[in-house]
Symmetry: D2
């Protein structure tokens, strides 16, 4: 195999250079020690690099094969390749000064001839990670098990018609959850890539939902058993690869968690592109999760507004991102969560530097978005205008309606007695939008 | 005003004429007394005509005004017009031999100068309904309150920033719920037409969800207080008129019901076009509601596959409809629910006969779909193939994983001990589809 | 009727106040005399206010009626109302310092009992416009005939199955084209609102396309006959109100123009929201029109990314708008065209001031977008990077392939002789995006 | 490598067994010698099996790899594998009694170390095809060059920024066009898989359109040079793999053909799933191509109504398919075109028999759809109702408006003189739909 040494033309860590800079190998807005709302930018944003997109995906799409030809993708000794890949990965983490990374088990180590061997491979690379992390400041945002790429999972993992696949998946998650725990991971993620169906005709929907709920309970129980203090996160997605994914969106996952008795145990990892594919804005899904008490973390990326699939592009629009950041700040910011770039350079972006530039530009988009969102929070005019709009709900009559003991009869009597004929008041949407826009300095 | 007498060229009730008929004023497949799976077709399908679409909508769209010029839509004496409209409505029910109808309060009677007067108008027309129902066999599938057309509701009803609107809506629902009860209604429906938002920027999402939950509890409490034995139904819709409607889809509504503690009290009225707008197939939403234990009733229509809004067209595709009917039968069929045509003739279909033909053809589509679905059930080959696919879950090892006491540790130990390496089996989607297709005789 | 005097709380024209201002009744970026790329901002942007959305639409939607209750919308003397409406309109033009406005005939004057009377009404109001324009600086960007709202047009105008409707529409366009000419209009627009179909089943597609082509030729011939020097513009839209509109998008309209022999005579008025409904980005449609030589003017607005219909919202996103402005500048800017706000305040925005704020904020969005786009042009780095990417096409071998006389044989021989094995080069998308983003100062 | 002998459990050609059959290895409706509208079913439908989907695609998707593990996909001797694949392919053609097949060059033979070697490989397999076709009745519907899978084409073929890629593609097409000609192919197809862009920012749109037009002219010139009598077909698709494909839909391609001067030389190959992705119904695209005089052939498949990408599923819905068949019959049926199954079994359908069943069921869907469409044509009631709707256009006044010499002035004078006030007539959409539905026996 080719040695990855020299993969990046320069391994100089990127520096903050200020908004006037047009050097793509610098940060224009991400100034990690700058204090915003009393916290360092780095601690607000908690950026993570995703192993899968940046190091494991070869650049293929449904109409064409590999484009990247990364040196660690071709060779006979798969574990040696995996080690080389890890070297490059940690090099990128260092260049970007990224505080976190995230991985699937199959991203980091080759599948073996048996689960036992696969697990051993994962542990071997995890050991390398552990050593690298001793001398690096990068930490693990989350680990997860890939329960969708191997053909054994083609009909699902926890929801597979074959219980042996359920068992296999459970055994695989056990290892990755433990490895995540050992590496100090802040969260463990479940993305139900193939937990869904291709056609209702061949599907026992209720059983699959039951099996999925059971699987999730097994994971939560194991978390407690091993003393993992991180958060278990579910990542909603409406479709793709399957026609229908059970974890459709925040609202749906919340319902399934209630059904499984886990709405206090599990939180959500919300991806921008998954939100838009489900017919929501990204900020909606964050706000909804916050309202339901299950906001956890985000997968930051963007879709293509004209494409009906998961394009996982790096975010580019500061104003859109600011609306998401505003909701995160309103939700109190991250606890164990972070901003994971679940984003990949386009398959035509075959230069190693494209990886660096894409992340740096995206970090800048988020950083500037954070500054705007923080301004919105500090200034308070938006919140004030909202509070004013709902001020009527502070009156005794209003509060009484919400309190136990109120009834349609009592309310109707009051409406008639008072001759209530409420007149509409302007929603002032354009004024709110203009105000929000004014924070983009 | 013009007298509605003679509105329909013929008032002869439509008869079953058999599949060879091409007379659009006959039924080709709907043979109400034909017994299917041990029940009369009429009792299976429980068709309802929707007052709103057929008698109240004037034919306007966002780019043009009224096209229908119904005689009962123009005149000075609004109550006389409402009575004339009722005459025509019951004439159509009779022509179609429809066993049910459904209405919003504002469909049947004009809004007065106060809620008291509006309620009086509703009761006056309801009295006419009651008398007509004495000599007609038509029954009330459900009633509902229109909490979205009047400008007072422009920012929502239960979720309005103004608590007086909440109160007004509550008082309005009280009347319609009671009227529905008095008319022997089988269900009461809540469609949250403007329970949602236009922009997150001016919205207190969590408060609105809380208010909506409280409102729903008030309705359920009142139902029990007055002894209404029908079902309270929520009708999900993802958007339109608002950008985001809280009752997005079945999965989301289930979650909100759990949050309100009402998942045992409230069921769902699922509309085909709302399902597709939410990114689901109609049959999916039915199957999901059944799996979650909240299936209630359906609004039968179809959307336009190329249009991104609620077109509320009459169903035309037998094969698509059969897949929905199959899920309804698998769910055990309707209890209090029915097949309500929440469908409107196109605004260019300005002849009175278009109303008759549209309903008759749609009833035939549903009837034939029912026959196909019943064949699928009776033949059992589809269910058998599904059962076979999941047969592995009947083994002791499989059942043990689902039972309390299992753990990731135990499962992983078994996977390793048994050297489990599950091999994928064909999902046979095309074979299932071919089998399903073969019931279309 | 209520006198519109005092409709706006203040009639003070808005002033440029600079980016730090948060007064919604000022411009933060629109500084009309500021020179950008050698031209005043006002002359670049050529803003127009649309009569329809701001003064004629009552605030209804498919689920609810009027919300605005404008004083000029209710009263017995329709011509007096129309005059009052004109007063308010010109007041808004003055407040906004808008250089242009645009109208449909039915926006400005009531429909009469005959076409003759309707035309007389239009002329009467046009006379008032003419007088007002003598003392105002506002000019007419374009006029157009409303061939879609009246029920006579429910099945189309030029493409109606009834030739009398074609004739009626032709007669109506004649008047509006002449009035537009007389008022010094810079363009005449055709939006084929109902030129399309609801179902192919009842449609003679080819005849309808032929009739539409003939209609368009009649309009162009009349333009020349009366000496109108403005541009005839077609406004593409894929659907809504009809299921399929013939003027689907830029590419489709170009083909229909070629078929009608009019690709040199007619240009396009591109609307942002129509572009996105057709599955394109706004900037794509502008760039495509420019490439095909038919770019004319734009209808500036935005859709809602989660709504499948034409929401006609005021633009809010500077970055998105900058990409459109960049393509306009690359196309050489407007000649007769302009930036028409085909945008309406939300139906909940019922305060008169919402109209002012919405336009002012949108003008600022466009102004800032223009500044960014001008920076991109002046800096030249984007264009330079594109040129570099295509530099190979300047070689003799490359140019020879494009020249007459080349052939597959000759090219294949050269490929074999030279052993051509072209290697891919990075498309550098993220680097281009980062560069584009860097102009957002 | 494994020998493909015995790949299919049975190689017995499928037989017509009639509608009552539920044997998936038989035809229920496809009775090739049955005469419909004076022509054998086989000659109407002209079914083709697509090499790519059935023999070359390994079952991967963006989230998982190969599932099929076909014996001819793994081995060291690529040409031997290609020969084995050809054996299986022709076996399937025989089992299905398919009259046609279709291929890309890279489907049938491995890419060599140079274009010369690749071409030699293609010719070697084509020779095998030629021999097999001597003893088989299967013929070639079309050939095409794969200009999108190899990474050299990642930025397009004819529209690549690198002219050497244009040259390489031209040389590749030359070979495949000639091979297609030699094999007696009825058509040659161009699908512009990567002729489009990922971001406008790095794209010279006008140059790319010019290069594409030149490429197309080169192909047409070569066709004439070598005496190929088949049809050159372009296959529109709106997007995927690229964000925007230039051959967006029928209307757009027609415009580009006009621009290239080729609207008389080139026809269209319309794919169902591409039509729906472009925001059209399949039948619309066929009818539009027929109206524009460019209808050629179809790629029969279906998309998933809830998935925003090209799923290429086998058609299952008879009623939908009948509407497409009706438009094909109205267009006069195929000349050189045919019904190519551009459809793949789902990646979970890993049994060889799934391939057989999927095709057989799809052939039945098309056959039954043909019977319905033929009934519609023979009965004539639909066409009659359409003709009646447009009957007004046969009057002298109507015809005069369409004739040269008419003018807006003359038409307006007539409208005024005659006091024309056309009244709308019902579009009777539901009646048309009911009539169309009645042909589903």
């Amino acid at each position: 195999m080719n040695a990855p040494a020299g993969f990046f033309a320069s391994t100089e860590p990127l520096k903050y250079a200020g908004p006037e800079s047009r050097d793509p190998f610098s940060f224009r807005w991400y100034d990690k020690d700058r204090v915003v709302l009393g916290k360092r930018m780095e601690d607000h944003l908690r950026f993570a690099v995703a192993y899968w997109h940046s190091f494991t995906w070869p650049g293929g799409d449904p109409f064409g094969g590999e484009t990247f030809l990364r040196p660690w993708m071709h060779g006979a000794d798969e574990m040696a390749l995996a080690r080389a890949k890890a070297d490059v990965a940690f090099e990128l983490f260092r260049i970007l000064d990224a505080p976190f990374f995230a991985f699937h088990d199959r991203d980091i180590a080759p599948e073996g001839r048996s689960l036992k061997e696969s697990n051993a491979n994962v542990r071997a690379i995890a050991d390398i990670f552990a050593r690298k992390m001793e001398t690096s400041k990068v930490r693990l945002l989350w680990g997860t098990a890939n329960l969708f790429s191997n053909r054994r999972f083609m009909a699902g993992a926890a929801t597979n018609p074959d219980p042996d696949v359920f068992a296999y998946a459970a055994a695989q998650v056990k290892t990755v959850l433990e490895v995540t725990h050992e590496l100090g991971g802040q969260n463990y993620v479940l993305w139900g890539g193939r937990e869904g169906y291709e056609t209702l005709l061949n599907t026992d929907l209720k059983s699959e939902l039951d099996h999925m709920a059971r699987f999730l309970n097994l994971v939560v129980e194991h978390k407690h058993k091993i003393g993992f203090k991180g958060t278990i996160l579910i990542e909603p997605k409406p479709q793709e690869p399957t026609k229908h994914q059970y974890d459709f969106d925040v609202g749906t996952v919340y319902g399934l968690l209630c059904r499984a008795g886990l709405e206090k145990e599990v939180k959500l990892n919300i991806e921008a592109n998954h939100a838009t594919l489900a017919g929501h804005s990204f900020e909606h899904e964050i706000a909804m999760a916050a309202a339901l008490g299950v906001f956890g973390s985000i997968d930051m990326n963007k879709g293509d507004a004209q494409s009906g699939w998961d394009t996982d592009q790096f975010p580019t629009n500061v104003e859109d991102t600011a609306l998401a950041m505003y909701e995160i700040l309103r939700a109190g910011g991250y606890t164990t969560g972070g901003t994971n770039f679940d984003a990949k350079v386009r398959r035509q972006s075959i230069e190693p530097e494209d990886l660096v530039i894409a992340h740096a530009a995206a970090m800048d988009v988020c950083a500037r978005a954070l500054l705007i969102a923080a301004d919105m929070i500090e200034d308070g005019a938006l919140q004030h205008a909202v509070d004013e709009r709902y001020a009527g709900w502070q009156t005794p009559d209003a509060r009484a309606m919400l309190a136990p003991g109120s009834s349609l009869d009592a309310i109707a009597a009051r409406v008639e007695a008072a001759g209530l004929d409420p007149q509409p008041r302007s929603g002032r949407q354009e004024r709110f939008e203009a105000l929000a826009g004014s924070y983009l300095r």
